[in-house]
């Protein structure tokens, strides 16, 4: 095995330290090197996916310590799927943002690219690590990069959003540490597989208290209501590629962490219902907050939170089909929301205004970008024949299997709210009367390539979902097969 999971982490780290040096050689190094690294991550992902399809899951130990003692990186079909998705989306977002920041001075670009890269690498780290404390470290890496990126524009609102994010993020890390502390005192290990193995012996009360700390801490990362006060601010103030990264990468990692802890480590009754109820509340509140937003990115942010709520609902249902739907939705949401943020950021770039009402008739200036935005809007609402439809459809089917009539009706009613505000925006873009002359910044070629590839994904998967479904299915199987995960990790000795 030439390529191992550790490459995911090592490559960005080396690059992060190398960039300040390389920039001395060539000033564009700050931009190009992260791209190379992210592309390398894509290769790693594809290679690993290929490998696990043939040889089964990989558990790589670091620094020569065996699995329960040392830190290990795990690539199962589940984590591999998410890591692949995150790395590909990360690369596309890099491609999109390649020239986006060219107006900034070289030094700032350096920080931006490094932070962005670290955020993506950290997210991958969260996904592939098999160690709970290691996960904490990666969460902090992502967190610090994200706080800085949120405040990247050094504007008044950026700093405010960054500070809020940091404050809540501080709570998340504190509670996560407390949760780890309790788990460690009870099981004496930090390896998630071993924790899961020893979990039945833990006293019920301790288990639940620990779980609650995890739920709150990771709920913050997963943007669960009422812990998501930071999310709309951060999404709307960060640079647009970063907003896309939040939606496509960071929230995926957050949800992954939550799901991994809930599904693998703990075996507590009632947590499924908790996820379902909180997911629904999250989705409901987010969407009704979104409907009256005046700021485009803030609206998209609330919409992201809503989608994550739906993902949590699906995980809460917990059947194989539901997890399948949830993973599919995570993928779709990552793709579609990236596309929306990318298109939306060109609108903002052109109008110099984040307000939705400044989008009136922008279709004439930016026909292609508008088309992508409209496509994304239709897809995220769940209109066939776009990919968003299938994930929603499978989630509904799985809910129906469990006879959750009211849940289905609730989800669909919330979808109607979602539809309302998205179509208002689309209507504005295409049909409202234009006021004033917006500046004309045509999308650059790399951004177009990035957006087209996402749009292509939306349409192709929408028309022919069989292309991706087997992978998602095996990912869902891998997540739900907890005993296999434990056995494999604790027995692999390499």
């Amino acid at each position: 095995m030439v390529i191992t999971p550790v490459h995911y982490i090592v490559a960005p780290l080396i690059a992060a330290f190398a960039i300040p040096l390389l920039i001395k050689i060539h000033k564009d190094a700050a931009r190009i090197v992260p791209g190379i690294v992210l592309f390398y991550n894509v290769i790693v992902s594809l290679f690993l996916m290929n490998h696990i399809a043939e040889h089964g899951m990989i558990s790589e130990t670091l620094a020569g310590w065996q699995a329960p003692w040392g830190i290990n990186l795990v690539v199962t079909p589940f984590t591999g799927f998410l890591a692949t998705m995150v790395s590909i989306l990360g690369f596309i977002i890099w491609l999109y943002g390649y020239r986006f920041k060219r107006t900034l001075k070289g030094g700032e670009v350096k920080y931006y690219e490094i932070l962005q890269m670290m955020m993506i690498a950290g997210s991958i780290g969260i996904i592939i690590t098999g160690d709970i404390f290691n996960m904490f470290v990666f969460i902090e890496i992502v967190g610090i990069s994200a706080f800085s990126l949120t405040a990247f524009y050094r504007s008044r609102d950026g700093a405010e959003a960054g500070f809020k994010y940091l404050l809540i993020g501080g709570f998340a890390s504190a509670f996560l540490l407390l949760g780890i502390l309790i788990i460690y005192t009870q099981t004496g290990t930090l390896n998630m597989a071993q924790i899961a193995e020893r979990m039945p012996d833990v006293p019920q009360q301790m288990k639940i208290v620990a779980l609650i700390f995890f739920l709150v801490a990771l709920g913050i990362e997963a943007e669960m209501f009422p812990l998501n006060g930071w999310a709309p601010d951060a999404y709307s103030q960060a640079p647009s590629p970063t907003s896309a990264t939040f939606a496509a990468v960071v929230s995926v990692a957050g949800v992954y962490a939550l799901i991994r802890v809930v599904f693998t480590m703990f075996d507590v009754e009632g947590v499924n219902n908790y996820l379902m109820v909180m997911g629904f509340v999250t989705m409901l509140i987010a969407e009704i907050a979104a409907i009256s937003q005046k700021d485009l990115k803030r609206m998209l942010a609330y919409s992201s939170v809503g989608q994550v709520g739906l993902v949590l609902i699906a995980f809460g249902i917990g059947s194989n089909l539901a997890v399948f739907g949830a993973l599919f939705l995570m993928l779709n949401h990552g793709v579609i929301k990236s596309l929306l943020f990318m298109a939306g950021s060109y609108f903002i770039y052109n109008t110099d205004d984040k307000k939705i009402k400044s989008l009136n008739g922008i279709y004439k200036k930016l026909p292609i970008v508008s088309f992508f935005f409209a496509l994304g809007a239709l897809a995220i609402i769940g209109f066939p024949p776009f990919s968003g439809f299938w994930s929603k459809f499978y989630i509904l089917i799985s809910a129906a299997d469990e006879k959750y009539v009211f849940l289905i009706i609730g989800i669909l009613l919330v979808t109607i709210i979602e539809l309302t505000y998205y179509l208002r925006v689309v209507g504005r873009i295409y049909f409202a009367k234009q006021e004033g002359e917006p500046a004309s910044h045509k999308p650059s070629i790399n951004a177009l390539v990035a957006m087209s590839s996402l749009a292509l994904f939306i349409i192709v998967i929408g028309v022919y979902p069989d292309l991706i479904m087997p992978h998602i299915q095996s990912a869902a199987d891998a997540l739900l097969d907890k005993s296999n995960y434990i056995q494999q990790i604790l027995s692999i000795k390499n």
Binding site: N273, A400, T420, G427, M469
Partner: protein, 616 residues
């Protein structure tokens, strides 16, 4: 490759091609779209027999496309109306912007509608249903520059409510009956009322929203009147019929598979909803001053009749509904085309602004006249047949005796707006500013005249429509549907001989017309509309002799209580209140970081306190 996929592909490619062609030559778009739709319909009618089936797998689901006689019947409407509407569009849309967008969406809508009728499983039904919905949404907002927020989105919201009701039903059909094929679900009794009552109810809800049934009709008038007229032709003519398609499918299988006792109340409710829809549509139609709006409300009313017909569930009733489906598409299509022609030629369809176009646009007027006669349901034109079947079904085969009066009231009041339409646009004083109006171009007239001829012929020989309709009914489970080529018979054996009536009317017409024309031919002076007797004075040029405002004021005053019930307002209030309510929840995000932190801690404490309740 399957032939049915080729048709879909033709439409899809056509849609993309027209969209692209627009950047090179906007004149070609219309012709391209027309040719593609023509090609699709030619392929369809020549290559696909009824009973065709095509099975395949997608996303792990068994899907099936195909055509029964029932769907074939609706395919006739879809392709017939689409080809005519696109031919009409070529000139109608000339000179308007974004033609690629328009025609692309147009062909997509046709694709969606065609997909709906060929779907034999629920998933593809839903997919095509949604494609149809959003593609038509793009067309609805094509004209609505300022009203996007309210008008277009209103259509979409209601459509979505309907579609999601359907989706709910679909996922539960899969759970309870373990099938997604429509025929299998029917065979297993999925629509029966004894078992899972919400499945048929949700499906009916979904379909009736597309058919604009009370109280979900509020999207229809604005959507119909705001779309470009050439699209409204199939919007009202064919797409709303997809709702009818679904209701018919669900309803007959309920009717044939359920104990009539259980079924009675839903039949009554649906019938009454249809009846009230008809009345509300009619009374609002007759107070409109915009011809397009008038027609739009009238469409709502007409769909109400169709729903009433379906609700009887009897042979004659379903036959009436199917017949009305076609004939409504024909005459309402023609009327919307007329409105479009007037809009194109005179610049507006506001009846308070234009009048007296009969001398300027005689052919258009002729079409309007015949179509209005059909709309009013008068013999000898086709509309009468539908009305006759409907009344006879209600009187002889159903026991909704009061409903029949409601329907009759609506169709009598329909005379009012019928007259209003003809008078408002074509008759009355000829004003100066309409003097230069020309007759509509020939490519706009041809589809209108074709539809007019269909309306006339179907009045004399309705058997031409009965034949496929009877086959369609047999396809959804009725046995031995009887029909005659040119006469109507009800359950009690009373007949009306339409052929004879048409001949008689024709004969009398010729005789009297010749008589009145020839008598004193040389001394008959044809004078303008200013030459009238107003107290012996000749009216001056500046005198306002147009009577267009508050046309049916006496009726309005008499029926004032009916007007006080405004569904539109109720929905609007609901929407606004909901948004205000949402706004309240939004305040949870105070913007204060400390508050958010407090939420986190409170949430943690609450979880810790109630941990035994939540995590048992």
């Amino acid at each position: 490759m399957e032939i049915i996929a080729i048709i879909l592909l033709i439409l899809l490619v056509g849609s993309m091609l027209t969209f692209l062609i627009d950047s090179f030559s906007s004149k070609l778009t219309g012709i391209t779209a027309f040719l593609f739709s023509l090609a699709a319909s030619v392929v369809f009618f020549t290559q696909i027999p009824s009973g065709y089936q095509f099975k395949f797998q997608l996303a792990g689901l068994d899907l099936q496309w195909g055509l029964t006689d029932y769907s074939y019947y609706f395919a006739y409407i879809i392709f017939g109306m689409s080809v005519l509407a696109l031919l009409y569009s070529i000139k109608y849309m000339e000179g308007k912007g974004r033609l690629g967008y328009f025609y692309g969406s147009f062909l997509l809508t046709i694709l969606g509608m065609f997909g709906v009728v060929i779907s034999q499983d629920f998933v593809s039904l839903f997919i095509f249903w949604e494609i149809m919905t959003w593609a038509s949404f793009l067309l609805v907002i094509y004209n609505a520059y300022y009203k996007v927020k309210t008008k277009g989105v209103k259509y979409m919201i209601f459509s979505a409510i309907g579609a999601y009701a359907m989706l709910t039903a679909i996922v539960f059909i899969r759970v309870h009956y373990d099938t997604l094929l429509i025929s299998e679900a029917i065979a297993k009794g999925a629509f029966n009322f004894e078992q899972y009552i919400y499945i048929p109810i949700f499906l009916l809800l979904g379909f009736s929203i597309k058919a604009a049934v009370m109280p979900f009709h509020v999207w229809a008038p604005s959507a119909y009147s705001k779309s470009p007229m050439s699209f409204t032709t199939i919007f009202s003519g064919a797409m709303s019929k997809m709702g009818v398609f679904g209701i018919g499918l669900v309803f007959t299988s309920i009717y044939l598979g359920t104990n009539p006792e259980n079924f009675y109340w839903v039949r009554t409710i649906l019938g009454w909803l249809g009846g009230i829809t008809a009345v509300m549509g009619t009374i609002y139609a007759l107070i409109q001053t915009d011809a397009k709006k008038l027609l739009a409300y009238s469409s709502v009313a007409q769909l109400g009749y169709i729903v009433v017909g379906l609700s009887t569930g009897t042979k004659l009733g379903i036959m009436a509904a199917l017949y009305l489906t076609v004939i409504h598409a024909v005459f309402k299509g023609a009327l919307f085309m007329v409105a479009g022609a007037v809009e194109k030629q005179a610049g507006t369809t506001d009846m308070t602004k234009i009048s007296g176009l009969i001398r300027r646009m005689p052919w258009t007027f002729l079409v309007a006249l015949v179509s209005i006669i059909a709309l009013a349901g008068m013999p000898p034109v086709g509309g009468f047949v539908g009305k006759w079947l409907l009344y006879e079904a209600l009187i002889t085969e159903s026991n909704n005796y009061i409903l029949v009066v409601v329907v009759f009231f609506s169709s009598t009041a329909a005379f009012l707006y019928s007259y209003r339409f003809l008078y408002g646009l074509f008759l009355g004083q000829e004003e100066k500013d309409t003097k230069d109006v020309k007759e509509a171009p020939i490519t706009m007239l041809i589809p209108m005249l074709i539809l007019m001829i269909i309306a006339i012929v179907s009045g004399a020989v309705p058997g031409l429509i009965f034949e496929p309709a009877a086959k369609a009914m047999e396809a959804i489970g009725f046995q031995d549907v009887t029909w005659q080529m040119s006469s109507l018979t009800n359950l009690w054996g009373d007949t009306t001989n339409l052929g004879l009536i048409s001949m008689l009317i024709g004969a009398v017409f010729v005789i009297v017309f010749v008589f009145i024309t020839l008598k004193g031919y040389k001394n008959t002076k044809d004078v303008g509309t200013k030459d009238i007797s107003t107290s012996g004075e000749i009216p001056k040029e500046w005198e306002n002799l147009s009577f267009q405002q508050d046309f049916f004021q006496p009726f309005q005053r008499a029926a004032a209580p009916l007007y006080s019930m405004n569904m539109n307002k109720i929905w609007k209030n609901l929407g606004e209140n909901l948004e205000a309510f949402f706004g309240f929840f939004r305040k949870l995000y105070t913007g204060n970081g400390q508050t958010y932190a407090l939420y986190v801690v409170i949430f943690l404490v609450v979880l810790l306190l109630f941990k035994d309740v939540i995590f048992s």
